[in-house]
Symmetry: C2
Subunit: 341 residues, 2 copies
Amino acid sequence: MELTPRKKKILAATVELYIVSGEPVGSKVLCENLDIRVSSATVRNEMSDLGGMGLLNQPHTSAGRVPSERGWRVYLDSLMTPEPVSAQERRFIDSLLLPSAYDPQKLLDGVSRLLTGMTHMTAITTTPSGNNAAVSGVQFVQTSRRTAMLILMTTLGTMHTRVFHCDFDLSPDVLRVFFRVFNDQLTGRPVRRITPAYLQTLGAGMGEAMLLMSSALRALQEAAREAMGSDVRVDGQMNLLFCSEFTQQSLRRLMRYLDRPQEVYALLQRAGTRVLLGSESGVPALRDTGLAIAHYTVRGRDAGAIAVLGPMRMNYPRLLGLLDYAARSVSRMLTELMDLQ
Amino acid sequence: MELTPRKKKILAATVELYIVSGEPVGSKVLCENLDIRVSSATVRNEMSDLGGMGLLNQPHTSAGRVPSERGWRVYLDSLMTPEPVSAQERRFIDSLLLPSAYDPQKLLDGVSRLLTGMTHMTAITTTPSGNNAAVSGVQFVQTSRRTAMLILMTTLGTMHTRVFHCDFDLSPDVLRVFFRVFNDQLTGRPVRRITPAYLQTLGAGMGEAMLLMSSALRALQEAAREAMGSDVRVDGQMNLLFCSEFTQQSLRRLMRYLDRPQEVYALLQRAGTRVLLGSESGVPALRDTGLAIAHYTVRGRDAGAIAVLGPMRMNYPRLLGLLDYAARSVSRMLTELMDLQ
DNA sequence: GGTTAGCACTCTTTCTGTTAGAGTGCTAAC
DNA sequence: GTTAGCACTCTAACAGAAAGAGTGCTAACC
């Protein structure tokens, strides 16, 4: 059967009424909120058709209609457009993000808080992955007589710190040596090529100086591991508790899934910028959810993702507008930061 | 009425059976799990007395007994002792905390994960507050042509970083000047005395160099604010969802409370090392909860708190043993770190 | 052929009444 | 002081009845 203009109109109205009410939408209320001059019986026939096409579901015989996963999909793909963020909200967002514009990790933290605050859903953000980044420098800062902080900096502007302890007294001279050795060897090297094996050969090449540097090397290894990976930050899981659409059990499953950052990261990576509805993700825990994902870029190259997770019933026009603006802002700030180098 | 030894025994057994079962305890099951050779009728009389004394509650006439808040209090104060942590668990804890022993913030993160993992409740930790600390140094690290990271270090071993941006090109020489000026003025100064007003006079004293340093000063101010405060980290709120004792409403209230870190911090500070049961905290949101708090020290001086929050029904002997060991470990590690200076 | 009014039908929700079971409190005997 | 026995009370679970909502179908209409 074909999706006539009137069917589209009715489907869109059903979805939108369902978004605001959360209740199955009946033919009568739909009629009242629709600017078509037809009776509820006609609407009823159309809704029955839409049900037959798999776009609307009926919880039970005497209930109204609810969009099915395919119904949501059609709505997302062809019946709505993202709602631009108002000027006032843009100002608010900018003022919140600007102070941490020069620190990617803190910036993504800010985005996370922003998204949870403005959507009352769960926000997921990933920091730029060092996969395509190189070391832009290594710094050492003495923090006490025998401890120092190693700071690994990447071309993406991320910084990864580790405090390490030596069993001899440190001095500016010693740290200068550390600095020279580490920067000579590492600056410009792709982060993904700082492997344990590489560090071992690096250490071996140092001769007996290696003994002095072993704890610094360990710190470097950990910092490099952190830089390679991507911090997955999940914020505002609490908000999902208050979504009536989740059962105790589905919530539990969902929370357990969100506790496995690698899997969440992999999903965001392979999904790209789009909305994953329920089973589309292939993840059982996400069966009843909607997951809106936007990727941000650095110099036009994909660098990470920000996302909002909630029940399938969400205000996507608004959500996608917000997500899009946030991703653009992050892309702009991080690209500027990279261009500073 | 007096709390005879037999009454104590019965109260303790009631509490302990309730801890494991979560169900009201009847006279019959209690009798079976008690090594007293008396009949259920006798136990019934005693339980009735304990009810009259306000130590046991009865959800309804035909239900067993449940410890009241006062009952829990008596149990905690005089009927139980914390359970020492097993050697195996001690090893596990140590191995988890040791790698971050030289970074207080990461250490407390580790404790937080530890407590949620081992108790399946919510953990609350506070990082050492800079209230009694002084600046042990300020460092600058260039991170790109026009950005640098300021690192504020305190005598407690905490580190606070801020990346700032200048509208002129930085150089090692410029940063050396920054380093000298900031360290001359700040090293040894109590963190709490780095006020906005002080920074203003500091800036004024610099003459026109002030223009060059304004963004560094702003970064310092933010870092100092962070150092003064205490990061309150709440972890594993999710776990509370699966405690049947909480209603939707009480959970909501609880979550909202946990979203206000200053209040949580103030409560932990004034409570000291002990268990707060329900209304004892004076916080309505905590009415149905138990909150076990332990303070850790640096050189014998109170520095912060770690705590576990859950329903009133918790396995306190185990919990208190764990909390005590964790607090001792943190105290030891942080004191060692401070002694390094 | 598309549209509409009317109505029977179905299913959920809510309320009420009933029953089985659990645990108590009381009494009288030990 | 302790115990056995028993009546009492309250909950949880189930079943049936009534109310309400929304549909699907049919027959008439434009």
